[in-house]
Amino acid sequence: MHTISWESVDHTLDECIKCNICTAYCPVSAVTDRFPGPKYVGPQAQRFREPGQEESPDASVDYCSGCRVCNDVCPTGVKIAEINARARAQIVAKSGVPLRNRLLGRNELLGKLGNIAPTVANLALHNPLSRLLADKVLGIAREAPLPRWSEKGSLREWLQRTSRKRLRSPKKVVYFHACATQYYEPFVGKAAIAVFEHHGYEVIVPPQNCCGLPMLSNGEFAAARGYHQRNVATLSSFARGGFPIIGTSTSCTLTLKEEAPELLDMHDEASKELIHGTWDIFEWLHELHEQGELRTDFRTLPLLLPYHAPCQQRAHRIGKPALEILGLIPGLEVRESFARCCGIAGTYGYKSEKYQIAMDVGAELFSFVRAQGAEVTYTACDSETCRWQLEHGTSIPSRHPIEILAAAYGLYDLEKRALV
């Protein structure tokens, strides 16, 4: 007997009119027969799932990447991606989590371990022999773009080192850096903090956990609940105090706002406060701009920049605020990608059996980037794993839009990825 509930999704089932729009746009079923499409494994198979059921009617749900394009196009509001996530959790509850998925779900723990001796960790991980072993033994794809631990220390170590230099101000924001910024890409956090301080905001960086998304998308709901509960405990008081909680990892802010409370049925007051207090960074900057408070002291940034709003950003349903803000920068020509998905979908593209699917899904985005011409020196995307996949698929360096914005304010070196 497992604990997966269908509470929040079941009532949306009857809204499914079997129009197949989701299947027409699903980027995964477009490239593989292993995934028949959202309608089939989602609302259709759901008729055969019920609490406490022993056998899952459809194991192919594991091939859903969780990109949420189906939710994006559904005309009647069926929670297809959530149905699939819960169905996967039901399978996991019955059959257990493979070691590989356990590892991929523990992004924070891996980050911490590598951070003890990042140079050694990078050497140990990023060599052909270990990647071959990881592929054969664990099932982590040899070619997939795993990140490198920061060899200049974590973001929080930098914050401690520079604490006396940090701006003090009555205007304050809370920064949710998430695991990738803490351990792999502290420069993204530095760029964000520089932009906040440029606007006169003091940045509070309270203790925080992994948002739990890697576990949610691997069906480990119970473990994810622990993470989310701790985040609610530490962060909701800030939300209650009126401080916006702003993140640069768009999938993590989405998890705090919606994925975790939705999938874990957490509807208590503190969870709701966190939902309403959390902002994706460009969502917040856009709000600042609407109030006439966004600084426009930009320098010219002569770049042709293909920008991909990743699936998890689009799932916020806030439009593409980064497009509008970057559009203010003189000299910068942003080209919007309409590609459905880069393919990697968090931990999906790291799995040996799914690596090629992820690359085939990403082909649409890679060819869009290539079609922009040889003068493209960077691409931009709000999600870290998508940036790594973009770099892997195009061999062109990728940046978070906040790095682009920080550079336009003259605060950041885009090439060295360091504050200036």
């Binding site: 729009i21 079923s29 499409g37 196009v73």
Partner: protein, 419 residues
């Protein structure tokens, strides 16, 4: 601030958005999900049947038989003809050629089950299967492709006196996939090299004078090239017949319209369900959509409601017999009680009263109350939420959406010029 916020991205909303964007307005289209074109044959139906159910050959002449307040009569012939011609022009620019019969007559085309259906404009590939053309149809399907039944279509057509035969080919001729849908097949056929084997096989099956009719899967982005290549390899005219959804012709039409809008700076934002609105005096101040956390407010100078009727999500109803417009709660002309929603016969030629109800507008396409007073000074409405539309029954769905979208956009532009 936006010049125009369009709520609903169906044919009427997209048409209005394109008109406005072409005139230089800043436009955003918000929609809960993607539109009904995805499950339509993507023909532009103008008027197929009179209210008494008799089929129509000359739709323009027959418009007079519609009730006077019907939106198509309110639009008028001039705007209607103009909108149809505009659409043809936009689509041709996108490589999607739509054509009609001579002398403004209806085309009669085979449906997905081989029934005879009226359409005013059709993609050339569908028009090529027109049933007034006496040349026989070779209807080709593929084994294990379950969304298209050539034998059923051919038999139905023969019963109606049209020469047709069916032929099934192995699916492996056109794909390596085992369980693909229409869209996967169409995307696969965009790779023109895949057509060689198919064309070669068909060249030996088709007889002189026959037309080859395929399920509507002949390419997405490369659709014209796919048709041209198949015609050249087989030496026969090539046509498409609609399939079960998802509709590839619908996707082509939707993509072409969204691209057109994008060229003029207009955006379509999907997964944005409008949930509330605010007013200032007698005008709409903002419309808010649901997000992952807080409602997102969209502010515009003018607003167009194009959310459709019950099917589109523009209306809802409950068991008490109440029915309502889902965003602004505009008054609807609807039967007074639930007992009067439907007539006893499902296929009653007079239709059902509930589908004839809807939003009432003045001649400038602004929603009005029962007394005819404008409800909000900066709100317009278009498409199948309009009262008296009942467009599925009369086969006027697309032309009604197109023409009222165009007319509402023109009304918005005219009012802006006055300001």
């Amino acid at each position: 601030m936006l010049d125009l916020l369009v709520i609903g991205a169906g044919l009427s909303g997209l048409t209005a958005a394109i008109y406005a964007a072409q005139a230089g307005l800043s436009v955003r289209v918000i929609t809960k999900g993607l539109n009904a074109l995805h499950w339509s044959a993507a023909t532009i139906d103008l008027l197929g049947y009179l209210p008494d159910n008799s089929p129509i050959d000359a739709p323009f002449a027959a418009l007079n038989h519609l009730p006077a307040p019907h939106p198509l009569r309110q639009v008028g012939d001039v705007t209607l003809r103009q909108a149809l011609a505009e659409l043809q022009g936009w689509l041709a620019d996108e490589g999607l050629v739509y054509s009609g019969a001579a002398d403004e007559a209806n085309l009669w085309l085979p449906s997905a089950v081989g029934a005879k259906r009226p359409a005013y404009l059709a993609p050339t590939a569908q028009a090529a299967a027109r049933l007034d053309d006496p040349s026989p149809l070779l209807i080709v399907g593929f084994d294990h492709f379950n969304d298209f039944y050539p034998a059923l279509i051919a038999e139905n057509l023969r019963r109606q006196g049209h020469a047709a035969r069916a032929h099934i080919l192995p699916l492996s001729l056109i794909t390596d996939r085992t369980n693909p849908n229409n869209v996967h097949l169409a995307e696969g056929l965009d790779d023109l090299a895949r057509l060689d084997a198919l064309g070669e096989v068909l060249r030996h099956i088709v007889t002189p004078g026959e037309r080859i009719a395929f399920p509507a899967i002949l390419g997405l982005a490369q659709h014209p090239q796919v048709i041209a290549k198949l015609q050249s390899v087989t030496g026969a005219p090539v046509a498409e017949i609609p399939t079960l959804p998802p509709s590839v012709p619908g996707l082509r039409l939707h993509h072409a319209l969204v691209r057109r809008l994008g060229q003029f700076g207009g955006r379509v934002e999907s997964n944005m369900a409008a949930v509330e609105f605010g007013t200032e005096g007698d005008s709409i101040a903002w419309v808010a959509t649901a997000t992952s956390a807080r409602p997102l407010r969209h502010r515009a100078r003018t607003y167009l409601l194009a959310t459709g009727g019950f099917l589109g999500g523009g209306f809802n109803s409950d068991h008490t017999g109440r029915s309502w417009e889902t965003l602004f709660n505009l008054p609807l002309s609807m039967p007074a009680s639930r007992g009067h929603w439907f007539r006893p016969e499902f296929l009653d030629p007079a239709g059902h009263p509930i589908f004839q109800g809807g939003v009432q507008v003045n001649p400038a396409w602004q929603p009005v109350d029962a007394q005819g007073s404008v409800l909000y000074s900066n709100l317009w409405a278009a498409g199948n939420l309009l009262a008296h539309a009942d467009s599925i029954r009369t086969r006027s769905h697309e032309a009604l959406a197109l023409a009222t979208g165009a007319a509402a956009a023109q009304a918005i532009l005219a009012q802006r010029q006055m300001i």
